[in-house]
Amino acid sequence: MGRVPKRPALALAAALLLAALPAYADKITLRLADGMPSGHIIDRTIIEPFIQQVAEATHGQVEIRHFPAEQLGKSRDMLMVTQAGVADIGFIVPSYQSDRMPLATVTELPGIFQTSCQGDAALRALTADGAILDEREFKPNGVKPLIIFLMPAYQLILSSGRPLGALKDAAGLKIRTPGGAMDLTVMGLGAVPIRMGPAEIYESMSRGTLDGALLAYQSVMSYHLAPLVKSGTLGQDFGTVAVTFSIRLKTWNALPPDVRDTLGRVGQSLSLQACEKFDKAEQDSIAKVRAGGVHLITPGAGDHADLEAAFARVREDWARRLDARGKAGTEIVKAFMDAADVAKPQ
């Protein structure tokens, strides 16, 4: 009595082992690669919560291993890194892949939306399943956006000692852009656009080979550019870049349906929260650079009228260039402006 026979005990142990095996076998590890330094605002507000929430929602079944700081590839190569399966989820910024995703750089066009949340909503409408950017650029490139949002509107920041009284003072300066439509905006100011990733700005500014950049102030803080920056604009919309964390379609299709649902749900939830978090972070960063002695200017009424006219020319020029190459330039500008109108704050 009370003694467990040997055979049933063995059978029980075997059953327990077998029950445990499927859970072990089903464990899924995904590699997430990005190009930002650890501690970057996107890292803190998007990536860390994403990894944590996915692990919690799947009860540890899905582990996301994070490779920051271009460990798996340059920011400019993230699409290729993801397509090749080196990473399962990649930090894919269409502006850095403008050869493969020209239409998605529409967000770089200046003067289209007033708030980040409005811009985010417009972008989500265009990248939803079956929408124009999903069908023409993400799917053909074999990726699916899980998290997608816009950085706050980029401002013109200068490391050059030249005083920035008005925007025409930027003429002749070398200004970093992510490439694409922002090149045209910088040319509209009479300056020379230099295409480079954000991780290269510090070195170029400190050597004096770059006079300034189009960038959000939170990136100024994240990339430790504040000690180099002497002046910058406030309240302008020089366009911005769309940031996506996109999963390789082959990986996505191989995942169990419940894991796909969880990834999609957590990604969408973080995408929806992004604009408010980034707007707040931008205000905090502006306060910090101001306290650090950076001279911030709000362009005057004359500048504003000139800018509006220049921005309209940039939009037309950009759309015409794409149309000429058989891409839907005019169509995507109209679609983005319409979606921004629908999402306009009341």
């Binding site: 050869d99 003429a171 490439g179 910088v186 020379v192």
Partner: protein, 186 residues
């Protein structure tokens, strides 16, 4: 066989000469850009992209095969001091056999990418619309030539080991007389 080796040598010399001209062009462009920027307040908008997208790749890939055949690459030759000339030739043959698939893969993958980019008319959006196939194609050109060099060297070493003529000399030993004589790469 010696004709093939000579032809590859000429191709390497041609690419290395182009790379030398490009190196001078980089210096001239950067110097002119600095002058235009600080004297005329009108820097070039194309210089950074031209140098970083195209010229840097020319400098790397066009010198790849010439650097190998000229023994200008990094090589660990500690064991070479303690073995016979025949064993050194076996080492050289193994180096070629191991390296050939690697550079052949690089050449094949980048060629596929270049053809794809050309077919899609991929360009980098911006002030100047740079075609991407043109700089991607530099990689298969350089890696492809190195693959040919490795293959012919492997065959030449095998012929020498089989008792045939020494079509290519052994890599010189560092700090030896032959090494010092051979240390005049370009």
């Amino acid at each position: 066989m010696s004709g093939v080796i000579a032809a590859i040598g000429k191709a390497e010399a041609l690419l290395a000469a182009i790379a030398s001209i490009v190196l001078f062009a980089v210096m001239a462009i950067v110097a002119s850009d600095v002058a235009m920027r600080y004297v005329f307040n009108h820097p070039f908008g194309w210089s950074y992209d031209l140098v970083s997208l195209y010229f840097t790749l020319v400098l790397f890939y066009f010198c790849l095969s010439r650097a190998f055949s000229g023994h200008a690459h990094v090589g660990v030759d500690i064991l070479h001091y303690y073995v016979s000339a025949r064993t050194r030739r076996v080492f050289a043959l193994l180096t070629c056999i191991i390296s050939t698939p690697l550079f052949a893969t690089i050449a094949a993958v980048t060629l596929e990418r270049a053809v794809d980019a050309y077919a899609r008319h991929d360009i980098i959006e911006g002030a100047i619309e740079w075609p991407t196939w043109a700089y991607i194609a530099l990689a298969p050109l350089g890696a492809g030539l190195l693959t040919l060099r490795l293959l012919t060297d492997a065959v030449a070493h095998a012929i020498a080991l089989g008792g045939g003529p020494e079509l290519i000399p052994l890599p010189p030993l560092a700090r030896s007389d032959e090494g010092l004589e051979g240390a005049s790469f370009e």
